[in-house]
Symmetry: C2
């Protein structure tokens, strides 16, 4: 299974000889998500490329995985280096999928492991954030990565408390929950139905508090909070 083993000899492309390791490079590309409570938008962090290829184009923040480095370390490094987000602002990370098209990077075959990262919006302001529902064209195959992974993120919301709490923060209103759900799934649920769904999320509690009313008037929304 590893390089030091002899593979059965036969003319197969991609064959690895013992001692002579020539592997694809591994990059970690991050869907860095930042929930703006004010507008209710889920923002995706993008970075302008300062090198060829795709110089000047937007791209997902990504780094090459270092030897012995863990995926989430690399994701934090990417978010810090490419978006300027301090490491402490990364609330949680997790795997999405791996993209292995050999021609996805013109410099040579590169594996891309896509991770999500949820950020604390108070500590991750910066220049380049795009609403997840209107991401500009990106470099490499990142348009495809975003499209594929957006569906995965939509499935994860409310099912994975670590992701959901990381995205929405320690407390949030029903209105914000509706906005975030719409941003990730493309579909806005009915308030009553989302409320029942949230009642069943482990660790999430409906409080008696109401948030401050909005500028335009209207009943103030309920506050939800994670316990533990």
């Amino acid at each position: 299974m590893l390089s030091v083993e002899a593979e059965p000899v036969g003319a197969r492309p991609g064959q690895v000889e013992p001692g002579h390791i020539e592997s694809s490079l591994v990059s970690v590309d991050v869907l860095a998500l930042r929930f703006d409570a004010g507008s209710g938008a889920v923002l995706l962090g993008v970075s302008r490329r300062e090198l060829e290829p795709f110089l000047g184009r937007d791209a997902l923040p990504g780094v090459l995985l270092g030897r012995g480095e863990r995926l989430r370390e690399a994701a934090v490094r990417a978010v810090a280096g490419k978006l300027g987000v301090p490491e402490g602002a990364v609330r949680a990370t997790g795997q999405l999928a791996t993209f292995d098209e050999p021609s996805r990077d013109p410099r040579g075959p590169t594996l891309s492991i896509a991770l999500w990262a949820t950020l604390d919006p108070a500590r991750s302001d910066g220049p380049r954030w795009a609403p997840l529902s209107a991401v500009p064209p990106l470099a490499f195959d990142h348009d495809r990565i975003v499209a594929d992974c957006r569906a995965l993120l939509g499935e994860r919301l409310w099912r994975d408390p670590v992701f959901t709490a990381g995205l929405l923060g320690p407390e949030f209103t029903t209105a914000q929950a509706l906005d975030a759900t719409e941003a990730l799934t493309g579909d806005r649920p009915y308030p009553a139905n989302l409320g029942r769904l949230m009642d069943r999320v482990p660790g999430l509690r409906r409080t008696e508090q109401h948030a401050a009313a909005r500028a335009k008037g209207g009943r103030p929304p309920l506050v939800w909070r994670w316990e533990g």
Copy 2:
């Protein structure tokens, strides 16, 4: 917590200097599944290691990913080289999760990308197959990989027609469907309930045919078939 699940971000050791690329090796480890229609067992292909480390122990079939090689190619190569299964016997493959514990291989940091592969049982006989419900202790962290991925396989059955058709073959009986579901999820559904679930699987059709009766007598089961 499962490695494939979300992780909160904590303290991180180790950094990588840019410009000096020294990446972890990438191995592709395969959960090669073979459904034995006779016994109703889902069998996992394991290979005995012929080199250190873990000499003589069983392990998942795996290979190092070659430069520019696709994950699917590597999975087919692993199954062919380590299990002796001809390439044409691989019906389908897909991603499961990535395991990035740096110490998972004593020879050095190695990323493991776990894939599933479904095999044609008629063309993939061989020496070492273990029921998925009774896998022997494996080398490296493969026990953990199997445990984590078994849950993912259970979720995929009936939801992913490519996986399900690859596992069960072009046609199968209700009894076999019950057995396969029990093997992957650990839970045997009621026949009526599984029948209704299968009625909703796209591309799967309940036929009017009955399979040959079993040796012990009893009503012959219905045959299900994929269309297209």
